[in-house]
C-alpha cells in the first residue's frame, strides 16, 4: 500500500462535477490485452491518445510543441524531436515518457499512469512500424466548434410532401425523415392533444367540465385547427402558464428556499420567494428572455430603484453561502456559465479547460464580474421587520477587492502577483467589453432615503404608541376591577366565613369520593404504606419513593379533577400530585423499561422552592418545564385543593380556586392510568372528585395564566398592588413609545436636512445651521428615549418584585437598584450639552446579509452600501444577451424544446462545448434561436411555434412504424413523440385540480413544510430547499436545488405506494368521481361517438359507460376500448357488491385505479 496518494490527486474544491471528472481521469478504454500481432492504430492507439493526450498535445494546446492527434504529427514530434522511431519502441520518446517510473516526469502528468496493457499497445504499434492512415485528418481548430459559430437563420427546406407538416419546425424535421427514410407517426387523438397542451402549458389537465366542452365540439381524431389555435392562445394567456414554466426555469436557475444547520441560515436567503414570483409574473407578461437574464444578473445596476425588478437579482442572492466566499463564487461562475451559456467553465478552475478553449485565467475573469457582489434585504413599504418580509437582492460592495487566480484551483494558493480583471472567453468574445462603473441614485445606496422607508418607520412608531396607549387603558381598567373586587371581597368577608373552594364546583361532578369507605372497585393502592380510615386515606411512608392510588375505571379524556389533601411532613420534596396518561410501566419510575410516559401535576412543599409544577415523562425521562411552574408558598398541615382541568393538551391548574398554571402540554395525550401520587411526602387525601370536562367550560390559554381571579381579600389586596404596578409599567412603556416616535420624527427631519446638505454643491450657511439645529434636536430626542427606557426597566423590575416568590427577591432587588441608578444617570446625561461630534442613529432601509468568511465565529465586518456599482455585471449581462452571442439563444431554446418535447436537441443541455454532444438538428436549433432573438426574445412566441408544429402533435407510440425502428430505434430523428413522465409538481397539482381543491392563489411566502400536507396551494409555492422538501413530491424526482438542468424520470415502487396510499390521492378520489359523474350525466356521449352504449340495456349501465369514458379521458387522456370498458364495468359491479360500498364509492375506486394507471403520470 503506498503511504501517500499520487501527487496528481486533484485538489478538493475542484473535485466537483462529473464533466470535469471526465476530463482528467482514466477510462479503461483500449485496455483489453492486446494481441501483439494485431495492433490497429485506429482501434487500439488513437482512442487512448485522444483520451489521455490530446488535451495538451492536440488542436487545443501544443505543449512542448508536440501534437499527437495524427500518426504523422507524432512522427514529426515537437521541441524534443520525434515522439517515436518507427520499429524501435525503446528509442521512442513516447514510450519513454509514458513508462517513466518517476511521477514527476511521467506522462500524462495527471490521473493514473497508463496501464501495462496500454503501454504494451503503444509499444507494439511502434514496433510494427507505427502505421497510421495516410489521409488522417488532424483535430479541428477548437474555435471552429459548431456552438462557437454565429447563429445564422437557416434556409427552411421546401416541403416535398405537403401532406405532413405545418410550420418550419416540421420542414426541418421532415428533411431528415426524408433523407433517412423515416415515416412520421400520425397525429395523436384529440383528447391526447388537449391533455398535452394543458399539462405542457399550464401544468394540469382540463376538468371534467372542460373536457365535455372541448371535446363536445370535436369528434375523435385531430382537433379543428381553429379550436387548437384558440386553445393554445387561451392557455398561454392563462396565469397558470407562468406558474408552470416558472417551475422549469426554477430548476435551471437553482431556486432554493433558505437552508442551513438548524436555525442558522447558510444558503440562499430569507424571502427568496420574491424572485420566484418575479419569474412567474415575467413569464406571464412574456418579458423578453434577454431582459430576464439582464435583470437577474444586474437588476440592481439597471433598475436600482425599482423593487419589483430588484426581485430578479434573487438569482444571485440564492448563491449566498455563509461561510466560504470561494464556494459562493464557484457556484455562481459554474451555474451562470452552464445555465445561460452552456459552458462548463468550472473545468477551468484548476487549469486550462481540457476540451474547450477556456484557459485557466478565463475562470477567474468570469469570477471577477461577481467579485464585488453581496446580498442584502431591502425594506418593503409598510414592513419594518426584515425577518417578516423584505426583498433579498444583490448589490456591489467595494469594487476594489482583487480577484486572484488560484494555483491548481486551491484557495490557499492565490497568485497575488497579478489581479485578474473581468473578461469573457476569447473564443466567444464579440467585441471589447466596456465596463463602466454605475453611479447609483442616492436612494439605492442610502435606502433610508426612500420615502416608504421613512413612512414605514413612522407608521411603526405610531402604531407602537397606539398599542401602548391601549395597554395603559387596559391597565387602568384592570386596576379598577381589582380595586372593586377587593372591596367586594372585603365586604363579603365580614359577613361570611371563607368558603372552601372545593365547595364551589364549576362543573358537574361525576364522582366524589370522600373515602368514607375505601372502594376497591375504584382504587388500587400502589407502593408506600397507605392507611385508610373513614374519611381519609393516609400515606405514612417517608422517603424519596413514589406511592400512588390508581383510579381503576377508565378516566375521561378531557377531565376536571380535584384532590383535597393535607401534607404533614416528608424528608424533603413533600410532593403530592395527580398523574394521568400513565403507561403501564411508568409507575415503576423513570428508569423503567417499556413505554414509559406520563403527565403529572404536583404540589411540592419543599423548603425554599415550594411550587405547583406541571411535568411529564417521555421515553423514560422526566421533564420539568420552567414555564409550567408556579412558585408559591405551600404550608404543611393545611388542606389544599389541587384542581386539574384538561382539554386535549391544554391544562389548567388551580390551587384553592386560584389559577396557578395554564399550559400546553407537549407530550401527546394517550389513554393511560390516572394516579394520585405522593413522593417523599406524609400526606392525607380527604376527597377526590373526577368528572369529564364539560364542553362549554372555558379554559385559560397559557398566556392568560397570570390573569387569575383572586378569591380571598388578602389576595385581592395584593392583586391591587400588582395592578398598580402594571399600570405604572404600561405608562412607562407608553412614554418609551412616545419618546421613540418623537425621536424618529426628529431624526427623519435631521436626516432630510443632512441629505439636502450632502446633495447641495454650493455652501449654504442657513442650511448648515438648520441641519446643526436638527441634529441637536434629534440627539436630545434620542436621550429622552434612553431616559424613558431606563424608567421602564425600573418599572418592570418593580412589578416582577411584587409577583416573585421570596427566593427571587434578593436578585430582583439588585436589579431595581441598578435600574434606579441607570435612570438617574440617563436623566443627568439628558441635561448635558450636545457635543459637536455626537451623532444620532440613522434609520435603516436595508440590511446587508452578514457573512462569516473569516471564521471568527462572529459576523464579518459589515459591507457598506457604496454610491457606485462596478458595472461589471451589467457588462456581463449585455454580452450574454447580445444577439450576436452564439450560445445564449441556442441554450435557451434547447431548454424550452426539451420541456415541450421530452428530449433535447443538444443532449448535453449545459455543455455546448467540444465535450458535449452536438445537436441532432443543428438547423432546427438555429432556426429556433433565430426566432427567439428576432421575436424580441419572446418565449411565448417560441411556445406557440413548438406546440403548433406537427412534430409536437404526433403520437408517441411506435405501433405501425416498425420500419422506422429498424432505422432509428432511439427516435433521435423525431419520427414519433417522446412520452414523458409528469414532474412531481404536475402530478400533485393535477390531482388537486381534478378534485376541484386546488387553491389558485398566486405568489407569496413559501408554504412551510409542516403545513404542506394540508395545503391546497400549487406545489411550486411549497418551501423547497436542500434540507426541506415535500415527501410526496420527492417520490417523483423532485428538483435538486444544487443542480437540476434536467429532471430524472424514474419509475420506482415508492411512487406506487404514494399514489395508492397517500392521503392526497385518497382524499381526492370521491370529489373527482363526483365531478366526472356530474359532467358525464349532462352529456352521455363524450369524445368517442360510439353508439355501442345503445346496445346495452338499462339506463344505469349507459350512464356508467359515460362515466367510464369521461373518467378515462379526464384522468388518462384517451377513450377506453370496449375491453377496457368491460373490465371497469366488471370491477364497478364487484365493488358495488361489497359490504358497505355505495355506488359513488365504487366510482371513487375506479378513479383511484385510473390515478394509478401508467398514463396518469405519463404524458403520452
Amino acid at each position: 500500500m503506498p503511504l501517500v496518494r499520487p501527487a496528481s490527486m486533484c485538489p478538493s474544491a475542484f473535485l466537483r462535477r462529473f464533466l470535469f471528472a471526465l476530463s482528467t481521469t482514466v477510462v479503461s478504454i483500449a485496455s483489453p490485452p492486446v494481441d501483439a500481432a494485431a495492433v490497429d492504430y485506429l482501434r487500439d492507439v488513437k482512442p487512448l491518445l485522444k483520451e489521455r493526450c490530446f488535451a495538451c498535445h492536440g488542436a487545443l494546446k501544443q505543449e512542448a510543441g508536440l501534437r499527437v492527434d495524427t500518426g504523422e504529427l507524432l512522427r514529426r514530434g515537437g521541441d524534443s524531436g520525434s515522439a517515436l522511431v518507427a520499429g524501435d519502441p525503446a528509442a521512442s520518446l513516447l514510450i519513454e515518457r509514458v513508462a517513466d517510473p518517476d511521477p514527476a516526469s511521467r506522462m500524462p502528468p495527471e490521473g493514473e499512469p497508463l496501464t501495462a496493457g496500454q503501454i504494451e499497445a503503444l509499444t507494439q504499434w511502434i514496433a510494427q512500424g507505427a502505421i497510421s492512415p495516410a489521409d488522417e485528418e488532424p483535430e479541428a481548430d477548437p474555435s471552429s466548434h459548431w456552438a462557437f459559430q454565429p447563429i445564422v437563420r437557416p434556409e427552411v427546406p421546401p416541403r416535398s410532401d405537403s401532406s405532413w407538416g405545418r410550420n418550419p419546425i416540421d420542414a426541418l424535421i421532415a428533411s431528415r425523415h426524408e433523407s433517412l427514410g423515416l415515416t412520421p407517426q400520425s397525429p395523436a387523438d384529440a383528447a391526447l392533444q388537449v391533455r398535452r397542451l394543458y399539462l405542457d402549458l399550464i401544468g394540469m389537465p382540463p376538468t371534467p367540465d372542460e373536457w365535455v366542452t372541448i371535446l363536445g365540439r370535436s369528434s375523435r381524431g385531430p382537433l379543428d385547427e381553429s379550436d387548437y389555435t384558440r386553445l393554445v392562445n387561451t392557455l398561454l394567456e392563462d396565469p397558470r402558464h407562468g406558474e408552470r414554466w416558472a417551475r422549469h426555469w426554477m430548476d435551471i436557475w437553482r431556486y432554493s428556499d433558505w437552508f442551513g444547520l438548524g436555525d442558522q441560515l447558510r444558503n440562499s436567503q430569507l424571502h427568496i420567494w420574491h424572485w420566484r414570483d418575479w419569474i412567474i409574473e415575467s413569464l406571464n407578461d412574456d418579458l423578453p428572455y434577454d431582459e430576464m437574464v439582464r435583470l437577474m444578473l444586474a437588476g440592481d445596476e439597471l433598475a436600482p430603484q425599482d423593487l419589483q425588478k430588484l426581485r430578479a437579482t434573487g438569482y444571485l442572492a440564492r448563491n449566498f453561502f455563509l461561510f466560504n466566499r470561494h464556494q459562493w463564487m464557484d457556484e455562481t461562475v459554474e451555474h451562470v456559465s452552464k445555465s445561460f451559456l452552456g459552458l462548463t467553465m468550472n473545468c477551468a478552475k484548476c487549469h486550462d479547460h481540457k476540451y474547450d478553449p477556456l484557459p485557466h485565467d478565463d475562470y477567474y475573469r468570469m469570477r471577477a464580474f461577481f467579485e464585488p457582489y453581496h446580498v442584502r434585504l431591502d425594506m418593503l413599504p409598510g414592513e419594518t421587520d426584515l425577518k417578516r418580509n423584505a426583498i433579498p437582492r444583490a448589490f456591489d460592495g467595494p469594487a476594489d477587492i482583487p480577484t486572484y487566480l488560484f494555483v491548481r484551483g486551491e484557495e490557499t494558493q492565490p497568485d497575488k502577483s497579478r489581479a485578474i480583471l473581468p473578461g469573457v472567453p476569447d473564443v466567444v468574445k464579440l467585441k471589447e467589453l466596456e465596463i463602466r462603473p454605475i453611479d447609483l441614485p442616492a436612494e439605492a445606496w442610502q435606502p433610508e432615503r426612500r420615502q416608504w422607508v421613512q413612512d414605514a418607520h413612522l407608521a411603526a412608531a405610531e402604531s407602537a404608541v397606539e398599542a401602548a396607549t391601549s395597554a395603559v387603558a387596559a391597565a387602568h381598567e384592570a386596576l379598577a376591577h381589582s380595586v372593586k373586587l377587593h372591596a367586594d371581597l372585603a365586604a363579603q368577608a365580614e359577613t361570611d366565613e371563607v368558603v372552601p373552594s372545593s365547595a364551589r364546583p364549576a362543573s358537574p361532578v361525576s364522582i366524589v369520593d370522600d373515602f368514607t369507605t375505601l372502594n376497591s372497585q375504584r382504587w388500587e393502592l400502589l407502593g408506600g404504606d397507605w392507611e385508610h380510615q373513614p374519611g381519609r386515606l393516609q400515606q405514612r411512608q417517608d422517603g424519596p419513593t413514589r406511592s400512588a392510588i390508581r383510579w381503576v375505571p377508565q378516566p375521561p379524556h378531557n377531565f376536571d379533577i380535584s384532590l383535597r389533601f393535607t401534607t404533614t411532613g416528608g424528608s424533603m420534596w413533600r410532593s403530592v400530585g395527580i398523574a394521568f396518561d400513565v403507561t403501564a410501566d411508568a409507575h415503576a419510575g423513570a428508569a423503567a423499561a417499556g413505554v414509559n410516559e406520563e403527565q403529572l401535576v404536583y404540589v411540592s412543599a419543599v423548603a425554599g422552592g415550594s411550587k405547583v409544577q406541571v411535568a411529564y415523562r417521555q421515553g423514560g425521562v422526566d421533564q420539568y418545564p420552567h414555564d409550567a411552574l408556579r412558585a408559591l408558598p405551600i404550608e404543611l398541615d393545611r388542606p389544599y385543593t389541587l384542581r386539574v382541568q384538561v382539554r386535549d393538551t391544554l391544562i389548567n391548574v388551580s390551587l384553592d380556586g386560584v389559577p396557578v398554571v395554564a399550559w400546553q402540554i407537549p407530550l401527546a395525550r394517550r389513554a393511560g392510568g390516572l394516579h394520585f401520587t405522593t413522593f417523599d411526602a406524609l400526606s392525607t387525601f380527604h376527597e377526590i372528585s373526577i368528572a369529564p370536562l364539560a364542553d362549554d367550560v372555558e379554559l385559560r390559554e397559557p398566556a392568560s395564566a397570570t390573569l387569575a381571579e383572586p378569591t380571598h381579600p388578602a389576595q385581592a389586596e395584593r392583586a391591587v398592588g400588582v395592578a398598580k404596578a402594571k399600570l405604572h409599567l404600561a405608562q412607562q412603556s407608553l412614554a418609551v413609545a412616545e419618546a421613540q416616535r418623537e425621536s424618529l420624527g426628529q431624526r427623519v427631519a435631521a436626516l432630510a436636512l443632512a441629505w439636502q446638505l450632502a446633495d447641495t454643491a454650493a455652501a449654504d450657511a442657513d442650511l448648515v445651521a438648520r441641519e446643526q439645529a436638527a441634529r441637536v434636536s434629534a440627539i436630545r430626542a434620542e436621550r429622552q428615549v434612553t431616559v424613558a427606557s431606563a424608567e421602564r426597566t425600573l418599572a418592570d423590575a418593580q412589578l416582577r418584585r411584587l409577583q416573585a416568590s421570596e427566593d427571587q427577591w434578593e436578585k430582583i432587588d439588585k436589579e431595581i437598584e441598578t435600574a434606579t441608578q441607570n435612570a438617574a444617570s440617563a436623566k443627568m446625561t439628558a441635561q448635558t450639552d450636545v457635543g459637536p461630534d455626537e451623532r444620532y442613529a440613522s434609520i435603516s432601509g436595508a440590511q446587508w446579509t452578514p457573512t462569516r468568511f473569516l471564521n471568527s465565529s462572529a459576523d464579518d465586518p459589515a459591507v457598506p452600501f457604496a454610491p457606485q456599482s462596478s458595472g461589471r455585471r451589467t457588462a456581463l449581462a449585455d454580452w450574454i444577451t447580445d444577439p450576436g452571442n452564439p450560445l445564449t439563444a441556442r441554450v435557451a431554446v434547447n431548454h424550452i424544446w426539451t420541456r415541450h418535447m421530452g428530449s433535447p436537441l443538444v443532449p448535453t443541455v449545459f455543455d455546448f462545448g467540444r465535450q458535449g454532444t452536438p445537436p441532432t438538428h443543428p438547423e432546427l436549433l438555429d432556426w429556433l434561436a433565430s426566432e427567439l432573438i428576432d421575436s424580441g426574445w419572446s418565449m411565448k412566441h417560441l411556445h406557440r411555434l413548438i406546440v403548433s408544429s406537427e412534430t409536437y402533435r404526433m403520437q408517441s407510440s411506435a405501433a405501425g412504424r416498425e420500419a422506422n425502428e429498424a432505422i432509428d430505434r432511439e427516435n433521435l430523428y423525431w419520427w414519433r413523440r417522446v412520452p414523458t413522465r409528469l414532474e412531481s409538481q404536475a402530478v400533485r397539482d393535477s390531482i388537486l385540480a381534478l378534485a376541484g381543491k386546488l387553491d389558485l392563489t398566486r405568489g407569496g411566502p413559501s408554504v412551510p413544510l409542516k403545513q404542506q400536507a394540508d395545503s391546497p396551494r400549487r406545489s411550486l409555492y411549497f418551501f423547497h430547499s436542500n434540507n426541506e422538501r415535500n415527501l410526496f413530491l420527492t417520490m417523483f424526482d423532485e428538483a435538486s436545488v444544487t443542480e437540476c438542468y434536467r429532471r430524472q424520470e424514474s419509475i420506482v415502487p415508492q411512487q406506487a405506494l404514494a399514489l395508492t396510499n397517500g392521503r392526497l390521492v385518497l382524499d381526492a378520489i370521491l370529489p373527482i368521481a363526483e365531478r366526472i359523474g356530474a359532467a358525464a350525466g349532462d352529456q352521455t356521449v363524450v369524445g368517442d361517438q360510439a353508439a355501442g352504449d345503445q346496445t346495452v340495456s338499462g339506463d344505469r349501465v349507459a350512464d356508467e359507460d359515460a362515466f367510464i369514458r369521461l373518467a378515462f379521458v379526464t384522468l388518462v387522456g384517451f377513450t377506453p376500448t370496449d375491453e377496457e370498458i368491460a373490465a371497469c364495468r366488471e370491477a364497478l359491479a364487484t365493488w358495488r357488491g361489497q359490504d358497505g360500498t355505495t355506488p359513488s364509492q365504487a366510482r371513487a375506486y375506479l378513479v383511484w385505479t385510473l390515478l394509478n394507471h401508467n398514463d396518469f403520470v405519463t404524458l403520452r
Binding site: 438548524g262 430524472q1048 384517451f1118 358497505g1140 383511484w1152 401508467n1158
Partner: protein, 479 residues
Amino acid sequence: MLTYPTPRLSRRSLLGNGLASIALAAMLQRDGFGQEHGWAPPNGKPHFPPKAKSVIWLFMNGGVSHMESFDPKPMLNRYAGKTIAETPFAEVQSPDRLAIERLVVPDANGNQRNTLYPLQVGFQKHGESGIEISDWFPYIARHVDSLAVVRSMWTTDSNHGAQSQFHSGRHRNDGDFPNLGAWVHYGLGSLNDNLPQFISMGNREYWNASDGHYLGPAHDAVPLRVDPANPLDFARPERPFPDAAKSVGTELIARLNSFREAAYPRDPALDARIASYELAFRMQRSIPEALDFSQETAETHALYGLDQPATAAFGSQMLAARRLVERGVRFIQVQHGGGGAGAWDAHGGLKANHTNNAKAVDQPIGALLEDLARRGMLADTLVVFGTEFGRTPGSQGADGRDHHIFGFSVWMAGGGIKGGIAHGATDEIGFHAVEDRHYVTDIHATIMHQLGLDSRKLEIPGRKRLDIDHGHVIHDIIA
C-alpha cells in the same frame, strides 16, 4: 424522456437492475455516451466471484474517538497535560503533514488541539488475537477474533460533511454523489423481489436522501423505521380503504396497464410501471413481516438488549438488520446517533458522551455478530463499523476532543474478511496514520471487492468519479 434499449428486458431483470438504471442507461445511450464507450448497464452479476452477499454498514454519527475505542495510545496518559511540542512527538504537527486537510466550511473551531488529553477509559486484550479494545465495548470485544480493525484510516475533511464523504467518497461541499450502497444496488440488484435492496435506518444528519444521485432515485436507500406500525412511507393507506376494494382495484390497475401494450408496443416504461406496482404491493406485506419481532425467541430479544431502555432502540435496528439480510436485502446502512452534528461529537464531556453512546450500540452490535455467526450468516455478511473521523489526541476545552482526520479506526467483520487482525497503525499518540494508510474509499473498494464488484467497471461514462474515489482494496485483511 423515457426511451429504452431493446431487446426488451424481462420483468425479472427490470426488478433486478433497478428501474431507473434502465432509464438512465437509455438516457446515456441517447446522449451518446453509451454508444461511444461501448458502456452497458450492469446486468446484476458480479464481476468476479464474491465472498459476501450482503453488507451491514454501521455508521456512528459525530466521530468516535479512535484512541478510546479500537486504537489504544498509552502515551497519551504518559504525556497527559503536555503540549505536543513538549513531547517527543512534536513532529506530527509539521505543516507538510497537516497539509492533507482541505479548507472547508469550519463547523468546529478548526484549531489544533495541542494539549494531550489522557485516555478516558481502560483497555484489555481480548480473544486469541489479543487485540486491545476499550472497556466501553465489552460485547464487541468478545468477537474480536472475527474483526479486522483498520487503525490507519485518514480523510481530508474535518467537518461533519465528512459523513457524506464516508458514504460516497465525496465531501458534501463537492456536491451530491452516489453513496456506496447505491453503487452496490446499481451493480448487483436484487436478491429478493419482495424487499428493497438498499435500506437505511436511523438518523441522517449531514447528507440528504439522494443516495443514488446520478444513478437515479431507484438506487436511493429506502428509509425504514423499526416501527412495525409505520415502517415505510406510504406503506399503508392514509385514509380508510377496505382491503377487498383495494384488491379489486389493484388487479384492475394491472389489467388496464397491460391493455395499453396494444396501443404502445415495446414500451419498457409501461413494463417498468407494471413491475413497480407489483413490487410495491409485495413490499406492503414483506416489510411488516420482516419487522415482526414476535417471531424471535425471548433469548434473542435479550441478546440484542431489547429488554433494556439503553439498548432497545439500536438493538431493534440490529435485529431488523439481521432479519432483512436473512430475507435477501443486499445493503443496509444504520446510522447511530442523531442531533446536531451527530451523537458521538464529543467536543466536551467525552467520557460521559462515549460511555452512553457505547452502551447504546455495543451490546446490540455484539449481538448482531453473535447471531449472524451462529446462524452461519457471518460468512457472507460483511459488517462494517465506521465513523466520519476520529478525535484529537489533544483536549478541547476541559474534557472533550475535537475532530481529527489524520488517523482513525474502522473495523470490518464477516463476508470473507480475516478475523483477529489489527491492520495499519497510527503514531504513538494516535495523531497520524503511519503504517498502511487508508483513505476512506479504500473501505469502499474492499467492500465492493468482497461483493465481487469492480468499481471501474460500474462507473458510467460521463459520470465518473476521480481516481481516488475508487480506492484500493485492502488485501491484507481479506481472508
